[in-house]
Symmetry: D2
Subunit: 439 residues, 4 copies
């Protein structure tokens, strides 16, 4: 085997907050115990295969800039294996416990159904070996049913059922591969499950196709004995004009419509949240409140750009809030933090891949420590608890307990001649409290 | 009684497309039969009381500019009646069949529960007289539970149950007034049902409060024998940072969560749709596909401004599409087109109120004729029908009919060695077709 | 030569508004005289080479879908010639008088400076032949100094002056080619002249580099005797986070800073205008008011998507307004309407290229007829003239004529005890007027 | 005199980072010397009169919530003085060195020109006394020429020159008051200098009116001997659809057009920057690079809301970057940090005004310390310096020095057969560096 592309990069170790070494962690001390578990157990970091090992730096306006050695030549089994070697070299140097992949990220290129099955199977064995050798685990697997031209009008929602059949083939085998590799979740992102043009689209029919497809996926999970979590990843648009799994609230309604709300959870991406007009923490808190929080794709957009920039997180306040709501909801079960992020197109060197991931991991760890402190001192929760205390007794409790009708409550208002006193929401005081903990 | 503010404005009549009279309709011929009904029956136009008779032209950066005579002095019963006279003078000159109101729009100001009930009751009798006298009907009534300072932290979702009780009082009486006035719908817009700051908010609790409140409203409807439709009006934010009834998909999920999807429908506003990141026609089509389409607030935003500008519609293509999807879903039952629109702050004259409404009514009528023609020639529907034809037989039908599992479909893909051929979506051809019908 | 890809498509002819033939023009009657000139002379339509002949349908999330025959194999001189044949087959069938190109669109691929010069030169001779043979002319040429990896950090603004030198080479030769082909304009779009990250950027230095580069370009124009117009195309971002030529107002300030406001004009793109937060007509009117209006890229974005979708125009109201402001400013001199638009990724057939262009041409012609009618009846201009009439005499004239100081005007206000009366801006009446003319 | 509204709030003192007292500063130690000056001298904090003492908590959807005692009754001289007392009670308890005001914020209401002059004059004497008594100084004064209905169509750009004359009266007297009170700057925000509707607007004429008005203002400054800086505050829109002073680049072009670029600078507001599609730091860096940086309004928007929310800053990373670019450009001369921010409508108590300002002041001080450390260790500047080093010699220097023409540079490219090597932009490494300094 040739020397690794990453041969010059040392293994990244925790060296404490004062470390001057850009290839060290300052906050991510994986074995540190916080709130009863190690940081590694809490944060469950994963590297994504596609942006880091498959993307060559191209964008809509220009060609690839990265010149990774494994991108040269055709994507056959040998090339797939070379890429796999480098990926695990990266994972182990970085010291993350997990990775994630799409079927087509890891395998040799295939056009026919039979080749697809064969090529995926061939690489899964190699992946299993690598995992055993390194101890790196699989957070989740998924199938790419959006990049191939056949999916230009969608996978499950395609007007041509044969395309949906190809998607079913990919999903069935990707889930089986995930199961074989002991993956902890299986993700579906419907990048082309939506429309470019409402005029040529039967939205009701496509929603039913998608509902049926997801039901088949859930049934397959039980049939093969996969015990991981099925996750949907919301996004409002791009590449489509409109994507059906727009945001957490939309996915919740979709799951309720097809009776799947106890079978499927969400994988929330920060960049998708903000493209949908929500804050990242809103989507996490809402998913938690609706009982469908699953996992996180930890990559940000640019506040001034209206597309998916997939950048590594760098906003400590935002990520502190995200962690606060995750911890408040009990933390991850099968989920984790996947960095679904790309280094910038000008960041062409091997070391840039490390800077991107190290910065993101360390920021998340720092945010986690902030959030844990906020959780422990309980100031926000107590404030909120007190603020709604009135609902525990009297007319509030009667309303919620179905003991009072609208007419009863209206009568109460008149009888008591109520004149509710205004009470400050203390937003600035709470924001100052948060600011103080962003450190 | 003093002479009407609108005394100089003639009754607006249909004069045909070549009319040069700005106070005439060129397309809205109320008695013209199209698709089996009169235009009046199809379009069910309503004027909103609040923007047209209550707003004085203020904005956040400046004071009112309109100097309407009925705005002078205190809002007592006499002032409320003066305003009512002018409102009906306007409705009748304009020739619309419906109007809409919030409780506080029409009544004398009140601070206590008892005064609220009494003042509302006093004006409802006058409204009933006016309606009988003019033949103008009530499309919907609603309660304003967002403007008074007591609602600064929400109505149903307020941390103080007494505020929710005041809201219940208002809603109960507003619905009863609507019932008494033979209103065809009752609307709830939760303008402050959301949050300004997630930190001081218990979102799960507030959603439950809102779900319970809406359930009480539905129960009250049945109790009093009101047979109109209960409608929720989605909006993503403003004045709140986040409003719970964000968009059609979110409202659908909310209704499903609280078991109300067969009891409540949506009142879709164009401006709220675009603020939520959706096209107006998307929200209409989606509501129709989910079975919750109810009524429409026909006011646009400005494509370059990120707040609710509430302008009269002027985009013939957009409104043609809106009408197309409304007609395709069978048209209105109890709903209609309410112009929830404001003349601009510089449009200070009585005649500007007419220009705004005449333009909007005529544009909608013109769009309706366009849409009816598209519906009749059936080109789009046929194209869509053909496009998905493959799903009616074979593997498509088996998937949808639950006769094939994921494994079955995957096996089919391999066995048949499927290679789906790409087929053009013909977006440009369809858009040209539409353009041709926008006339 | 093999049969043309477009062999089955007839030449597109004007057949009048009632034509049912999707391959005909309904409004674009090139020889019809309006306002003293033919429609062809007014509208000066051009097809862009890149989107129509170079793009294969790929996007960031998926591979190309189009399978154009000329995309197979390497881009050598033979392939470039095959593409050229097809391009001119398209131009002539469509019946447009102009086309536009980037250097790399038309030529065989080249890596070295010498090859670049040689390959460009080789194809320019062929283009000249084709132009002579068909009568199709060149609206503008340009150099692509953004797609090659060398330009990842910009062309003229690159931190490496050798990259700027390569850009200079491309621009010098592209301008000379344009001159040789009697092109009427030369365009610069600085797609990577901006920054991805302010932290690694010396913005002042980059602006100076860009100012100097543009000055060299202007000097070169005069040196070689090219009499066309130099045009800058504004865009706010994408692919960069921030592009220096953000919008018309920014370009104006840039030109003033480097003393080039009489040498360079703007090429305004609708999609870039809206991405910058402006209406299309605003950018046209502003450029006209600042004296730098040049030419137009006629492609729209999607109102709900925050990136450059480059769609064919389909909004008759928007384009009517655009035409109105263009005609009001005197119309094009050297500029024209370039359709810098892509068919959608699902529109894979030869005929879709025609539907896109035919729809756009016809919409523009229809908008032109609307705008000409508005110009001729003079209602808007007269309203505006009257509205500002007060400034022609008295204190208004004194202020503008520098005959009154601030103190003089303040004294006038007190002395005259002025109480300016409010006067309606009549926005709704004007919008109704416009709506009536959008037909 | 009655007891102050703020009687229960202690004077806010610096107590160090570990202070648990929410009415203390943790970072703002006004006399601490950093980079050769005290923090007070660097940061020059100012409180704005309008949001804090004039706004009653109303928004477009609801009435005022604050019930400040000085809002009761008519705004006569006595009320204006009561408000003034409270304002200075607030300034001194907070311990800021500056305040800012509009004419109408501080004075008794006036309708006629003569009353305006008289009422302003009456309060200015009282302000002078308060300033002398407390040592609080005036950062800047301004005139409100947007709130009164007469300004509904603009001040300087109004179609009625008498309105411009009233604006001239207000500006002349506001500037004289500022001069009398030793204000250090005079600001113009053209809140209605733009358009609601392009159709009724003569943009070229309005720009000329605005250019002439600004010239009169500059001439008046010199005439009265005011030595402060004239500042324009950019904003893209709201309340207008389009505001002429859109952003820094637009203002620069405007100043160049009217020859005022050496007389006028910009007052940059964070919320206006982001509404215009720019980052806050971009606007600061650009103003500095163009030589027109003046002062700052330190208030943020909400990333998910498209209007001016005027919130207190709370994003340490953003403010650290802002401070970095301010310090890099040499820091403030006459400018400073004005908190043009409102407490939220639910934050109704006296103490909330303190929480808002204390949080903002402390955040800015903390960001300042971060930025000073970054400036001192010079890592970013050195990286940037090295990145562009190639332009100091060879072909780069020749281009910039006007020693090489486009043809020369093109010839160099061919002769040298240049193949520029790609070099990483190191964005992630730089962002990690920044993250580390955000503490």
């Amino acid at each position: 085997m040739t020397a690794s592309y990453f041969a010059d990069i040392p293994k990244v170790e925790f060296k404490g907050p004062d470390s001057e070494d850009p290839f060290s962690y300052r906050y991510y001390d994986r074995s540190q115990i916080v709130l009863g578990k190690t940081m590694e157990e809490h944060l469950r970091f994963a590297v994504c295969y596609w942006h880091t090992f498959c993307w060559d730096g191209f964008d809509v306006f220009g060609a690839g800039t990265f010149n990774r050695p494994w991108h040269a030549g055709d994507l056959d089994q040998a090339a797939a294996e070379r890429k796999l070697d480098e990926a695990f070299a990266f994972f182990t140097r970085l010291g993350v416990p997990y990775f994630c992949f799409h079927d087509v990220d890891v395998m040799a290129a295939a056009e026919t159904p039979a080749d697809h099955v064969r090529h995926l199977s061939a690489i899964v064995d190699k992946i299993a070996d690598k995992m055993a050798e390194t101890g790196v685990n699989l957070l989740w697997g998924t199938a790419n049913v959006f990049s191939h031209p056949r999916y230009m009008a969608g996978g499950a929602t395609n007007p041509d059922p044969d395309v949906a059949a190809f998607a079913a083939l990919q999903v069935a085998h990707a889930m089986e591969a995930t199961h074989k590799l002991n993956g902890e979740n299986y993700v579906l992102w419907g990048g082309r499950e939506g429309y470019d043009c409402l005029l040529n689209t039967d939205m009701r029919r496509e929603l039913d196709q998608l509902g049926r497809f997801l039901t088949m996926v859930v049934e397959h999970k039980h049939k093969i004995g996969f015990e991981g979590t099925i996750l949907i990843e919301p996004k409002p648009h791009e590449p489509t004009k409109h994507q059906y799994d727009t945001d957490v609230a939309t996915v919740y309604g979709f799951l309720k419509r097809y009776g799947l709300e106890n079978e499927v959870r969400v994988n929330i991406e920060a960049n998708h949240a903000t493209l949908a007009g929500h804050s990242f923490e809103h989507e996490i808190a809402l998913a938690s409140d609706l009982g469908i929080f699953g996992s996180v794709d930890m990559n940000r957009g640019d506040p001034q750009n209206g597309w998916d920039t997939d950048q590594f997180p760098n906003d400590l306040r935002e990520i502190t809030l995200a962690l606060y709501y995750i911890l408040k909801s009990g933390g991850f079960t099968t989920g984790g933090f996947n960095f679904d992020a790309k280094v910038r197109r000008q960041s062409i060197d091997a070391e840039d891949l490390f800077h991107g991931h190290i910065g993101a991991i360390d920021l998340t760890a720092r945010a986690f420590l902030n959030a844990a402190a906020m959780l422990e001192d309980n100031v926000i929760s107590q404030f909120v608890e007190d603020r709604y205390a009135g609902w525990k007794t009297g007319i509030g409790a009667q309303m919620l307990g179905r003991d009072a009708s609208l007419a009863d409550v209206a009568a109460y208002a008149v009888d008591q001649n109520i004149q509710p006193a205004l009470k400050s929401g203390r937003q600035e005081w709470l924001e100052n409290y948060l600011t103080r903990h962003v450190k």
